[in-house]
């Protein structure tokens, strides 16, 4: 059997498959043994209780979905008391995702949840649903650097910065995260999008706009993963539209050291354990001893024709 393990900074994961924040919870333990995953990643929480967005909160598209769940949250107290202990029963490292509305609040909150059992904090600086229609820290390198730096000085727990596809400055934001002390990047969150019912004219989400996820997102987030892996030295975790083993392999080839699976779990709750098994089988079929052998191997075809200078 191939070595499926992968390192993400100081953490070693037994395999590179983990859930994406907001698409995973304790309830999935009703379906399969959660310990077969490389890590556990919880839904983003805020410090205060919040209700999230109006319904309808989701709609399906062709090979994709929109969501405007927002960040409903039972608050930090509830989370520390109930959620974190649940995952203590498992070997897989626990990554918790947090959000806040100012850099200082982010830092304070990070400190508060830096409790035993938390292996890393994923900072959701990219959620497109809250506040002013998709603008978030991760839109600009400056605001990213500021918030990560403050969080960095508030906690010793590894920080994963979750980036947004809604910015034109992906590379700069990635580098700002690294500079400010992030331990890893997650590329990426959902892309701001919209759907209208052509018969009724009704906007299909209660929040008007929402985040695009699922297979249609993959070409965009795969590109971000490639860009970030080239631009920073810290590990990059790929996320966006993964549902098949080919998707996993493409992200690894693009330079991701691990991947997160989101929407696909809604379509088949067993997607993640299936991918772990298929990754093992694929490595074996290709005669590769480890996941490591795939990471960052994407390259241009040698057969690219050189064109004439003019058309």
């Amino acid at each position: 059997m191939a070595d499926l393990s992968t390192r993400v900074g100081a953490l070693t994961l037994k395999n590179p498959i983990m859930p994406a924040s907001g698409t995973f919870s304790e309830e999935l333990a009703d379906v399969f043994d959660l310990d077969c995953l490389g890590a556990h990643v919880t839904k983003t929480i805020t410090r205060e209780r919040r209700s999230g967005n109006p319904v309808p909160r989701v709609c399906e598209l062709n090979g994709a979905m929109l969501n405007s769940i927002g960040i409903p949250s039972k608050g930090a107290g509830w989370f520390v008391k109930n959620t974190i202990p649940f995952y203590a029963d498992y070997d897989a490292p626990l990554v918790i995702s947090i959000s806040a509305s100012t850099a200082d609040d982010f830092a304070r909150f990070a400190e508060e949840v830096s409790v035993p059992g938390v292996a890393a904090i994923e900072v959701n600086i990219s959620c497109p649903n809250i506040e002013d229609h998709g603008k978030a820290f991760a839109m600009r390198p400056g605001s990213t650097e500021d918030v990560i730096r403050k969080i960095r000085s508030a906690t010793d727990v590894p920080i994963w910065a979750k980036l947004s596809p809604n910015t034109g400055e992906v590379v700069e934001v990635a580098q700002a995260s690294e500079t400010a002390g992030a331990d890893a990047l997650v590329t990426a969150n959902t892309m701001l999008a919209m759907a209208i019912d052509s018969r009724s004219g009704e906007i299909r989400l209660g929040n008007v706009m929402g985040g695009l996820s699922g297979p249609a997102l993959k070409p965009i987030t795969l590109r971000m993963t490639y860009q970030c892996a080239k631009a920073v030295a810290i590990p990059v975790i790929g996320c966006g539209g993964i549902s098949t083993i080919d998707d996993v392999i493409e992200y690894l080839m693009a330079g991701a050291r691990a991947v997160q699976v989101g929407t696909a779990t809604f379509i088949s709750p067993n997607t993640m354990p299936r991918l772990v098994g298929e990754l093992d089988a694929t490595l074996a079929a290709r005669g590769l001893a480890s996941v490591e052998a795939l990471i960052g191997t994407a390259r241009l075809s040698g057969e690219t024709t050189t064109l004439a200078e003019y058309t």
């Binding site: 395999n15 009703d30 090979g63 779990t265 093992d280």
Partner: protein
């Protein structure tokens, strides 16, 4: 560190690496029969393994509708269990052919398989003091209440069922309810006796005549509100099975929330997890 490979439950026969309990299963179930019940509804009967037949009335499954030439549904579709039978290894859904998913599903033929996830959710609870329940079903709500009627029958409850539909042709399962010993009353829009006013009169009458002491309903916000009114006037409790758009179906995504009145204020609960069955009076 050597990897411990995942076992995909239900799709392989390998044992679980750890013994934690799993109650929701994803299985490919073969279609035993698939027939039109009327012009809008189909009944699909699946050959289902024991693992998913530990069902209770009010629970549902999340169905992966196929991709066809004409329809490409992406999400699963939630469907109440219409009937389940461990002995025969059967599981059935009664569904209305409406949009992309159900239309795609309608194209499935006997012998094809359907990928199902379940059983999911909180079942109806027939409290000991609820001896003379009234079941009020509108449209497809009927599918949800059918197994409850069977349960009531097997618990020896005296049962009254009101079936409401748009027209008499769209009434279904009245024979089934009678078979469970229920007193069945049908009302339809076409006949003009399905409105809130006439139903309220009818039910007040039934409370007087048959001693109704609990309400169960599904399928109509309007009728739910009506039962809440009647219930609070008469001090009659009950339960409602709600529908809400879902993505994951098992509690992870918070797509399917609905607001409920609680002593300490309103809360949002997940229809797929805390429901689909809720206290009648709490639903907002």
């Amino acid at each position: 560190m050597p990897a411990s490979p995942c076992v995909v439950p239900d799709t392989t026969s390998a044992p679980l690496t750890l013994g934690r309990q799993r109650s929701i299963h994803e299985v490919e179930a073969r279609i035993k029969s698939h027939d039109w019940v009327n012009g809008q509804y189909r009944l699909i009967v699946l050959a289902a393994p024991d693992t998913v037949l530990d069902c209770r009335p009010g629970q549902f499954f999340h169905l992966l509708c196929p991709q066809t030439d004409r329809f490409q549904p992406y999400f699963r579709r939630p469907m109440s269990i219409y009937s389940y039978d461990r002995e025969k290894g059967e599981l059935a859904f009664l569904y209305k052919v409406a949009g992309a998913g159900t239309s795609a599903m309608a194209e499935l033929e006997t012998g094809d398989t359907l990928n199902i996830v379940g059983p999911i959710g909180q079942a109806f609870e027939i409290k000991p003091e609820w001896q003379r329940p009234l079941l009020l079903a509108r449209g497809v709500g009927l599918a949800t209440l059918a197994p409850l009627a069977r349960e009531c029958a097997s618990l020896g409850r005296s049962l009254t069922v009101i079936c409401s539909a748009r027209s008499p042709e769209l009434l279904m399962s009245t024979e089934l309810f009678r078979h469970y010993g229920a007193e069945v009353i049908t009302v339809t829009d076409a006949e003009g006796n399905s409105g809130v006013e006439s139903l309220t009169g009818l039910i007040e009458g039934l409370i007087a005549s048959r001693g109704i002491d609990a309400f169960f309903t599904c399928g109509s916000a309007r009728l739910t509100r009506m039962l809440q009114d009647i219930g609070s006037r008469h001090g009659i409790g009950g339960q409602v099975a709600l529908e809400q758009h879902m993505a994951c179906g098992i509690g992870m995504c918070h797509a399917c929330v609905w607001p409920f009145r609680r002593a300490d204020g309103a809360v949002n609960l997940r229809v797929c997890r805390e429901g689909p069955v809720f206290d009648l009076q709490e639903a907002m």
